[in-house]
């Protein structure tokens, strides 16, 4: 009965360039490379964190706050032994990779090794002192929030086939607009909505540049970024410093979810937050559902993967792209308000400091998937938080190098040391093609 059906063949898309890679596991070279990297991590753990800590020093990992209803006992780890044990475990993982014992879940093993390394690093840094694990995780969530919004904004655009490198400019513009409007109106929610609207306008602008005027999308996005930086700096110098009242929007307060916030450890972490963290989780799972379980999502994805096919079955490619890019702008605008209405309570020149680009890297690392993007944002957030913690703990690592870590990690991620990911097939291509 299969005779009438033509088998699906990769030659069905003659105008597409052939995919350079076939997805069949990892090459041996890459696995060996990762194995060597893991071995190095193990050596660093043993030499620096294990042998580098004087014996007898303990690290106290604090799991609950004094005010919590349910107290979870602290974990006390001897610093030297922990470094040695974790280092040995990492070495074992590296050896397993090199010997070829692990072939399929290489990235999982790498992730475990990195996690163990992070614990070893933290134990070493906190030797002879306390460190609050809850505080660390809380800070991770806090720093991951704008990255997650940025990555989700990029996701919406790129799933429909428009590269959005303008996330940075959208975040910055929205941060400025929300500070101004919330201060002027005295209502923080006005700032939230105005920030989202400003994102939508920039999204429309990006859409017009890339869809109607067919500007190279990366250049169009860069133009928006430079423009946003110039305009917000100009207006900041011109308006906000003249009228400081206009730069005093106030900030959102954390509120608990009744019942759930009383859970030990998790309650404090997940269910006692500002509106942004809740919105982030709602948005991640909402977008996952919308993109992969609804007709709308199927359309968006088809336009991003094969616009001609989508056009043939009657989907309006350009309109779908415009809508997705504008929706992405709304999400980026929401993320931008985080900088003023949650993080600092005022607008500062260039306050996003490259977060939009890191969000873009999180999108790529997260393989153009909402849940992946969230996980990637959390990884980047953790790196940033760890960096600030280490700076406070007075480690011998120079502070300038600690400040580099988020950027270095981003390069490593994008360079595919942690896996090459595949963008939507028509990402960045105008439609109809030239």
């Amino acid at each position: 009965m299969a005779t009438t059906l033509t088998p699906p063949s990769p030659a069905a898309e003659p105008e597409e360039p052939p995919a350079p890679e076939v997805r069949t596991g990892l090459s041996d070279a890459r696995r060996v490379g990762i194995g060597v990297f893991v071995l190095l991590l193990g050596v660093v753990s043993i030499v620096s964190f294990g042998l580098g800590s004087a014996s007898g020093l303990d690290s106290r990992l604090v799991l609950s706050r004094a005010a919590d209803a349910v107290q979870v006992p602290d974990i006390v780890l001897p610093a030297r032994v922990t470094g040695l044990v974790l280092g040995a475990a990492i070495l074992f993982l590296g050896a397993a990779l090199l010997a070829g014992l692990v072939r399929h879940r290489v990235y999982l093993v790498l992730g475990i090794a990195l996690g163990l390394f992070a614990v070893a690093l933290l134990t070493w840094a906190a030797r002879g002192a306390d460190t609050s694990v809850i505080g660390l995780l809380d800070g991770t969530l806090f720093r991951a929030t704008p990255l997650a919004f940025g990555a989700l904004a990029g996701l919406l655009c790129e799933r429909s086939g428009v590269i959005n490198i303008a996330i940075e400019g959208m975040l910055l513009t929205s941060a400025f607009v929300s500070a101004l409007t919330a201060s002027a109106s005295g209502n923080i929610f006005v700032g939230l909505v105005a920030g989202m609207a400003s994102g939508a306008i920039l999204g429309l602008f990006l859409g017009a540049l890339s869809i109607r005027y067919r500007v190279d999308q990366i250049i169009g996005g860069t133009v928006i970024n430079i423009f946003a930086l110039g305009l917000t700096s100009y207006l900041g110098a011109r308006v906000l410093s003249t009228y400081p009242d206009l730069n005093n929007p106030g900030s959102f307060r954390a509120f608990g979810i009744p019942g759930l916030e009383r859970l030990p450890v998790l309650g404090e972490l997940l269910f006692r937050n500002t509106i942004y963290v809740y919105l982030m989780f709602i948005l991640v799972f909402g977008l996952w559902w919308a993109l992969f379980r609804t007709r709308w999502g199927l359309r968006v994805r088809s336009v991003g993967e094969h616009p001609r096919a989508a056009d043939t079955v009657g989907i309006n490619v350009l309109r779908t792209r415009y809508r997705s890019v504008m929706l992405g702008g709304v999400v980026a605008g929401l993320g931008g308000t985080w900088f003023t209405l949650e993080a600092t309570g005022e607008f500062n020149e260039n306050m996003t400091a490259g977060k939009g680009y890191i969000a873009l890297a999180a999108l790529i690392f997260g393989r153009w998937h909402p849940v992946g993007a969230l996980i990637a944002a959390l990884v980047f957030g953790f790196t940033e938080e760890l960096q600030t913690r280490l700076a406070v703990l007075n480690t011998p690592i120079p502070s300038d190098f600690l400040l580099m870590t988020p950027y270095v990690v981003t390069i490593i991620v994008v360079a595919g040391l942690v896996g090459r990911s595949r963008p939507p097939a028509a990402d960045g291509q105008p439609y109809p093609p030239d």
């Binding site: 190098f401 360079a415 040391l417």
Partner: protein, 424 residues
């Protein structure tokens, strides 16, 4: 015709459309006739040149107009006049006109008004030309070098270090500093090139991240004893010695430093490389179509690396002429990194072609040199220049937009592709 000339399979899409034989080389006048034929050929060359200049000129004009609107609608006094527009329409218009003409008048007076200011404009244009060449060269190889800022910082750090750490006679010291600046920038640029070639990491993200890293590297260096002047605690380096400073040249009252000649020489070198050499032909082919280039047996990765090394080196020279030519001669935190972003605008306005880059650099030199005088005399913040620059890039990058505003008939295809997408 031994090497590839510009007319045959070249003219890659990496070269923006519409500029025909604009500023660069070209295969005009194939020795056909004289007299009338020559006149016609000249006429068509002139027309092509005028066509090539039309869109950038309109882009500049439109950007200045919108910049003026931004000024008007952010100035409290003028806004007050506008709020009583129906009572006194002339007053509102006059206040707006005064505001804009004062600001732009100051902008152009403090950049072109006197020989002294003109010299300052040339000095400002020099690093921009080198940076523009860096971004333009990368464009032609299909790469978008947003990392000129970081390459500038690293180049300036290396050149500055050579400049103040050693005591050498000037004929050796200055070239050594220039070489160090080039090498530092080239090394920093090569990171992105190698990553692109080996792993496919998109250079836009890696170069931006390398920018942030470079600022930290400079800060770290400035904290060290080797860089810090005795008795200072802030982030500043020792000044570059006299023997490593670029000589000052005086033509009449126009004073500028010798970096200008370096920039012009670099433009000629880039033109020769791109238009007259085999390597440049390969580079442009890779930029036009990496698949075709690979099919033709060219090493795409090697071209990416080479392009980023040269682009990084040119951006390093931008930092070098700054640290060895700009008074104060000291490194500070985030040393003039913003020039790296101006360089992108210069390259786009110059349409990624060396002669165009020189012209665009001069124009941006005017904006930059005039903006400080404008801020001091008319209270207009210098940041307006960034807005105007972004508008210029926007209109240059979107010729269709300019055509629509001015109802100009479309020439050839409007879609242009400077860069490669994620997957490549």
């Amino acid at each position: 015709m031994s090497t590839a000339t510009t007319d045959a399979p070249a003219q890659p899409p990496a070269e923006p459309p519409d500029d025909g034989s604009g500023g660069g080389g070209g295969g005009g006048g194939e020795g056909s006739g004289r007299g009338a034929a020559f006149g016609a050929a000249l006429w068509s060359r002139l027309r092509a040149l005028a066509n090539a200049l039309l869109l950038p000129a309109l882009a500049l004009f439109t950007a200045l107009v919108i910049g003026a609107l931004v000024m008007i609608f952010t100035d409290p006094n003028t806004l007050n006049q506008w709020s009583s527009f129906f009572a006194d329409p002339v007053g509102a218009l006059k206040a707006s006109w005064d505001l804009v003409s004062d600001a732009y008048g100051a902008l152009f007076h403090y950049s072109l008004g006197t020989p002294e200011f003109f010299g300052r404009t040339l000095t400002e244009a020099t690093p921009l030309a080198l940076g523009g060449l860096s971004v333009a060269l990368a464009f032609r190889a299909g790469l978008f070098n947003i990392g000129a800022a970081g390459q500038l910082v690293i180049g300036a750090t290396c050149a500055g270090y050579v400049g103040f750490a050693f005591d050498l006679p000037a004929p050796i010291h200055l070239p050594l500093a220039v070489l160090a600046g080039f090498a530092g920038g080239a090394a920093w640029g090569s990171i992105a090139g190698v990553l692109k070639a080996r792993t496919g990491a998109h250079e836009v993200i890696t170069t931006i991240m390398l920018n942030y890293i470079s600022y930290r590297v400079l800060d770290y260096a400035l904290r060290s004893q080797r860089f810090r002047p005795p008795g200072r605690a802030d982030l500043i380096s020792r000044p570059v010695h006299d023997s490593a400073r670029l000589p000052i040249i005086d033509v009449g009252d126009v004073r500028f430093h010798a970096g200008l000649f370096l920039a012009i020489a670099a433009a000629v070198a880039v033109w020769w490389l791109l238009e007259r050499s085999t390597v440049g032909f390969r580079m442009r082919t890779v930029g036009a179509n990496p698949f075709a280039a690979r099919y033709a047996g060219m090493s795409v990765g090697a071209m990416y690396i080479l392009a980023m090394v040269l682009a990084g080196g040119l951006a390093g020279l931008m930092g070098t002429v700054n640290i060895t030519g700009r008074p104060s001669f000291t490194l500070t935190s985030g040393y003039y990194a913003f020039l790296g972003f101006d360089a992108i605008a210069v390259a786009l306005l110059g349409r990624a072609n060396p002669a165009g880059v020189l012209g665009a650099a001069f124009l941006f030199g005017v904006l930059r040199a005039g903006s400080t005088g404008m801020q001091a005399n008319t209270d207009t913040p210098v940041d307006i220049i960034v807005v105007i620059q972004a508008l210029i890039i926007l209109f240059v990058a979107a010729p269709a937009l300019v055509r629509q505003i001015y109802r100009i008939k479309a020439g050839r295809a409007t879609g242009q592709s400077f860069t490669t997408n994620w997957g490549l």
